[in-house]
Symmetry: C2
Subunit: 514 residues, 2 copies
């Protein structure tokens, strides 16, 4: 196998059986592949009933055959029934060699493992791979290597024709007989359907699967009937407990607070805390703590944000309702409060994954961010971040919007504890590069703040503001003092997954456990 070293120093094979030629990552904004997007299939409108009696009938009508690609969305998260349900029908129908291309997968999808072993599923393309499924893939159970993409990268891959979806099976919490659907109402309400919209626009055939068939016209429709070929009603598309948690509540873990306080200091020192600022924060402990601290300060100081972006929690909704934020762009609603709000507040705006983060359109929303708060499993001294593999090298998480928001935002802040489960977070080389160091500006830990030396403007601003920072190598030493130098992980030579950069080049590969 011939290898090319990519811009983050990883050896990328020129060609990989089951995927094809690989283009090594060259750096942000370097790989401009093509001039034109993919061209969706034309379906000539007719007046036949779209509502079918079963998933099996829909699979038959869709024309699904061996070797094709099916897609799903992950808005039902760990409560999703649809992926397992549809894939089992496909298996029972004797269809094989399917590439599964959902926007992400959760631990509930461990049930797919037998279908992988039987050769029903031979390829997976997803942002996330978790639980036993991730472990099995790390053991090499899947025939072809996985392709791991960010949310923006997936939208790009669909729109640019790299990920061609033959049939999209879309879980629809609220749907009418023509396929007008949204995620706002019903027992399986999930809020935004942002990831699914791109699938609906580009798949050759779109099947809506609903447990809440409502009278026509189901408007507002996040995905309209012009995109939907068939509708199937089932008992349940998911387990509400797994779809949305209740309101995500702030936890008072002192370590998270310490990290959050450092992030707040960095945001202020960077001059980002001012009227009209635009930000994205996650639902993790420390980033949620930042939201809480920001909100308190904003109230006190009379500062307002103009826009909150990303996966949205009830906390953001509260800030919207209080007038602390002018508007929310929501690709994914994390809790019941967010799901409720998107149906009621016109300033809580549903957006597609492409509008959110596809680098190949004039302004993905990530490009309007002043700052983003991100997590990390590992960070290396080149500021590369791993959000996909565990400290033992096993696939376990999701790339999500990490790769997209980090370069999009004016300043990206990665929040992480210095040590997690006796493993140092800062190291010489991360196990898997998901986001390149050139996109990562500030590291906020419980032991101090490190600034990427590429951002001399921030170094200056922090100095002016009197904010103390630490060289990342010093942070690494502090971490290793607490944990010792971690052992090197042993891998075999077999590649079980490639991690795509959002532009379609390969930023890293994941190898089989030794």
């Amino acid at each position: 196998m011939n290898y090319n070293k990519n811009a983050v120093g990883r050896d990328i094979p020129e060609y990989l059986e089951g995927i094809g030629e690989l283009h090594p990552f060259e750096g942000e904004g370097k790989y401009l592949r093509t001039d034109r997007k993919a061209s969706p299939k034309i379906r000539y409108g007719n007046k036949e009933k779209k509502l079918l009696g079963s998933i099996e009938e829909a699979v038959k009508k869709s024309g699904l055959k061996d070797g094709m690609t099916v897609s799903f969305h992950h808005h039902l998260r760990n409560g999703d029934y649809v992926v397992n349900m549809v894939m089992q029908v496909i298996a029972d129908m004797g269809i094989k060699d399917i590439t599964l291309a959902p926007s992400s997968l959760s631990p509930c999808h461990d049930k797919l493992i037998p279908l992988i072993e039987q050769g029903v599923i031979t390829g997976i393309q997803s942002s996330g791979l978790r639980g036993e499924l991730g472990e099995k893939i790390s053991q090499g159970v899947l025939k072809k290597p996985c392709i791991i993409r960010s949310h923006g990268g997936r939208a790009r891959a669909i729109e640019d024709g790299e990920l061609h979806i033959d049939v999209a099976f879309l879980a629809a919490p609220c749907c009418d007989e023509y396929g007008n659907m949204n995620g706002r109402y019903g027992k399986s309400a999930c809020g935004s359907l942002g990831y699914a919209i791109v699938d609906a626009q580009y798949a050759d055939c779109v099947v809506a699967i609903t447990d809440n068939l409502v009278p026509f016209p189901n408007i507002p429709a996040s995905i309209g009937m012009m995109y939907v070929d068939y509708v199937v009603e089932v008992e349940a598309i998911g387990d509400p407990k797994g779809i949305v948690s209740g309101s995500i509540r702030f936890n008072d873990n002192p370590r998270d607070l310490l990290i959050a306080n450092n992030a707040i200091k960095a945001i202020k020192a960077a001059g980002l805390y001012k009227d009209g600022f635009r930000f994205q924060t996650g639902a993790a402990g420390s980033t949620l703590a930042v939201a809480k601290l920001l909100r308190e300060d904003m109230k006190k100081d009379g500062i307002k944000a103009s826009m909150a972006l990303g996966g949205i929690t009830g906390y953001m909704v509260k800030m919207l309702e209080e007038g602390l934020v002018d508007g929310i762009y929501d690709t994914q609603s994390f809790d019941l409060d967010a799901a409720k709000s998107i149906g009621e507040n016109p300033k809580h705006f549903e957006q597609t994954a492409s509008s959110y983060a596809n680098p190949n359109n004039p302004t993905p929303a990530v490009n309007t961010l002043d700052f983003v708060l991100l997590g990390a499993l590992e960070i290396d001294t080149d500021f590369n971040v791993n959000v996909m593999t565990r400290s033992d090298g096993v696939i376990n998480q999701a790339v999500g919007g990490h790769q997209d928001t980090a370069p999009g935002a004016e300043v990206s802040l990665v929040l992480a504890p210095l040590v997690r489960s006796r493993n140092p977070i800062i190291m010489d080389k991360v196990t898997t590069v998901c986001t390149p160091g050139e996109s990562v500006d500030v590291i906020c830990t419980d032991y101090g703040i490190a600034v990427n030396p590429r951002r001399q403007d921030l170094v200056e601003k922090f100095k002016e503001a009197g904010l103390e920072t630490i060289d990342i190598k010093e942070l690494q030493k502090m971490a290793e003092k607490l944990t010792g130098k971690p052992d090197e992980i042993k891998f075999s030579d077999e590649i079980v997954a490639v991690v795509e950069y959002r532009d379609g080049s390969i930023i890293d590969v994941i190898k089989k456990e030794a």
Copy 2:
């Protein structure tokens, strides 16, 4: 020139200079052109300012060159300033041979005539051509023949790649610096931007032109920043008086009432007046009178409609607010009440022209109609309808959604007086076929109702309901008794426009005045 006779008996040349090969109309649903839609241009996101200082700068940055195609929307109707303003800049920059492809044109665009004479504009593709501009085109002033398309046909032509837009200049009544726009607010508010959305999705370059630059994020955005390349602020994009009339009020013209009463009888006799019905009505006198009569009956009878479609008036909004209609699909808002409602009522839903009427998607909204109420300039004894040329053969009106809703709806009713300005409406052959007779089911005049013999099911139902009908040839005789047989119009051999059927085939040609 070689000609082919099409399915409505018109001679269509095989080839036309300035357009190319022409495919003769074969009948509803017969011409399936291609497998895949057009592929939009990829623009790689960057962080450059989109807000430019002038239209000229935007034209320069757009890369517009001689021979290219520009598009506009007609949501500002006869109040539009943008088409004239932009075309004058293009002319002043010395750019020539431009094809102008707006969704429609109004009398205010008579100012384009000098640009046509100067060779700046050499082609026009539009749904409507009115006023002096229509007259001049009928006199052969334009270099290439016009292409006249329905609203659904235009969406199809854009999506399927037949109408390639190099630069779309989109009037934006409410817009932020990134191009997030809607038509809901501002001094030039027009309501729905439904026709413009397809342009934004498929044009190689999109320029927003606004007189109401609002802070980011301008949400809900009918067209989002992911589609917009540049933004230009101008003093005014239109004259509010021409953009929307005040509430369209019911007139009590007795002839309109007579026609409307016949339509109501036909609707009821056809069994279409029942809970959950779906309908489209226009803003013309007689169709608006039908809405008024329907509303009164519905209140009395406790009947509710599920969906109202099309160009929306305040009258529909009132019915929505009264709970007489469950939801409105709005491609175009005809008055201020409708424009206001679309911003406030989530059940008043903005839809694209493609979602409305493009025959080449699984379910254009027109396919869900139980009935549609349409107008006509002329109707012939084969039920073909002309909505484009005057009785003297001069281009003067618009195809609009006529061609789209007539075949889409379960029953299409054409409402017209038997005689208009001393001209009979029913004749041997309409001057220009816009909608083929096979799509036209019932003619409601002030002198009686005619049913298309192709619809024996309706003939039976009307008989059962005791509703008297008249053979269309009898109606013609009655008309001619009042007016005399009209003289035949003399045309030259030169073709000044082709009328496309919604599928891209040619249903008729319009010739130069003799």
